[in-house]
Subunit: 328 residues, 2 copies
């Protein structure tokens, strides 16, 4: 059984962690995680890949569980010193342990290795038990258009990290995955999609995590033509995100902040969209019911992944729904 997961950061990482546990009994299970790289940013001359690292640290047991990102047992001395030198940006926190990952990555990229090779080399150390693939080796960076009274047209585009970390995700006019239309899926990505028995759209931000993965040319076609069953997990519960800020930016692209709104945005496979199945939280059972009529088989289960046990149970629910869809 080959499973490919489209994932952003925290929510996706926790889901994949549960999925790895759930299939631990199946020796022939192969997990590939296709991670968003449009959050990536150059900071202090280093290439930082937040979603790849969150997945790597989470699956490798190196994550800070409470924050959900960065390394456990972390210190912040380099950051303190960078601030003392007055070097910007001061709003992005690179921990001392975390820095080592970015140093190795930056040095390998500088030596000419593509991000996919660099990611594989970094993951070697952590022994993930899954294959972690960047969505692309090409540079794609999400920019967000926000209000700025100091500009002639009253607007300004900022890098996603500045929008998210520094500005705390205010209302936005547009989301632009810069470079996406010229990007190619990283080696292994198209194959992971084509050869999968099951593709899972993780409960990650539909705009800046899943949306940017799907913005890489060829990705949606690969998903539509794959013989895999495609199951998505709602990142929204009763109008609020399962984890983090997965609700942000949905209004910007005209999608309702509900479990059914996101499902309709992804669309039914039978109707040219992506989804065969969709998991919503129990609290959204009634509201999401009409999705079945649109060709998206919807099931209501507990979606909160507040413990590894719950992540695993959610993964088991995904496998179960996929099983049903495959048979029926």
């Amino acid at each position: 059984m080959r499973i490919a997961v489209l994932s952003g950061g925290i929510g996706g990482a926790r889901f994949v962690s549960g999925l790895r546990d759930a299939v631990a009994g199946h020796p022939d299970a192969e997990l590939s995680v296709i991670a968003n790289t449009a959050d990536d940013i150059w900071l202090f001359g280093l290439r930082v890949c937040p979603d790849l690292d969150t997945v790597m640290y989470t699956l490798g047991g190196g994550i800070d569980e409470e924050r959900g990102w960065g390394r456990s047992d972390e210190t912040w001395h380099a950051r303190e010193e960078l601030a003392a030198y007055g070097v910007e940006p001061s709003w992005f926190g690179l921990g001392d342990r975390d820095l080592a990952t970015h140093l190795v990555r930056t040095q390998m990229l500088g030596a000419g290795f593509p991000l996919s090779d660099v990611t594989a080399a970094l993951c070697e150390r952590w022994g993930l038990g899954v294959r972690l693939l960047p969505m692309t080796d090409d540079r794609v960076e999400t920019h967000v258009v926000i209000d700025d009274a100091t500009q002639a047209d009253g607007r300004r585009a900022v890098h996603f990290q500045e929008y998210w970390v520094r500005l705390k995700a205010p209302p936005a006019h547009a989301v632009i995955p810069v470079g996406a239309k010229d990007a190619k899926p990283a080696p292994g990505v198209a194959e992971a999609i084509a050869d999968a028995d099951l593709i899972v759209v993780a409960p990650s931000n539909p705009v800046v995590s899943i949306g940017t993965i799907l913005a890489v040319p060829g990705m949606t076609d690969a998903m539509r033509t794959s013989s895999a069953v495609v199951v998505g997990v709602s990142p929204i519960i009763y109008g609020a995100p399962v984890r983090g800020m997965a609700d942000r930016l949905l209004p910007t692209i005209g999608v309702e902040v509900t479990a059914q709104g996101v499902a309709e945005h992804y669309g039914a496979r039978s109707d040219g969209g992506l989804l065969d199945g969709w998991l919503v939280d129990e609290s959204d059972a009634a509201a999401a019911e009409p999705l079945n009529g649109l060709g998206i088989t919807t099931r209501a289960v507990p979606l909160y992944m507040s413990t590894p046990h719950l992540s695993r149970r959610l993964a088991a629910d995904v496998l179960d729904l996929a099983d049903g869809l495959r048979r029926g």
Copy 2:
């Protein structure tokens, strides 16, 4: 009174610190430190300048006093993680706070700033009270030829840091300042020498610290033609280094490991060499006496700089000797 000091790392930094204290009462005193950069090395994609940083941290109050190099209140988490990734070299210790300096430097160099500008920008934060100049903006790297039975000719050249830090300075066949002959003094260096009233050769390694500064074309000529009095401080006391490993590599270039051996190596100014005056330790008074006959005015004083007070006293002795030489 304008003073230029030729300096390596620890010994030079402590001496300059004492000198800064000693001239604190003279409002018109201007101190320029010309620091060796031939120890510099690229590590993990970062440009590390050990001697510049030792001087900067020492004068800026950020040095780890006990080690004599690196930052106070330091942690080593990034280093731990780099080792966990299996990235070489594992023998060079970059602390977490120290890393910030290298990150800022590397980013500025990458943006096109010469090392002298980068050094000035870094020093801005520390408020040194002296002008710290790299000997050159060009890349010069000391390589040392050592025994290696695995090589056809039984020898191998290694970067100075590998020789020093990893191999702990074994006997060597040759010292090669790679790139020196094509290097130019950094902006301000030739002027600091030409305009000085006093030039001090700090008690630093005569081969790999002072020797490499002097290997930059134009440096020895500038010193010979300067109207300054030139006073050196012996890095050797009774056949042993004042601090660190200043005795190493002297035999490789055929210099006796004594205070008088080093003075003869620098030579008397009246005889085409560099020195007007020379300070040796009291224990070397008798042995160094013949230097006076060679045209190097030699005085014996306590040379150990184990406390800031002693460093300041040594600096006062240098100023005193220079005064005497100037008067005639």
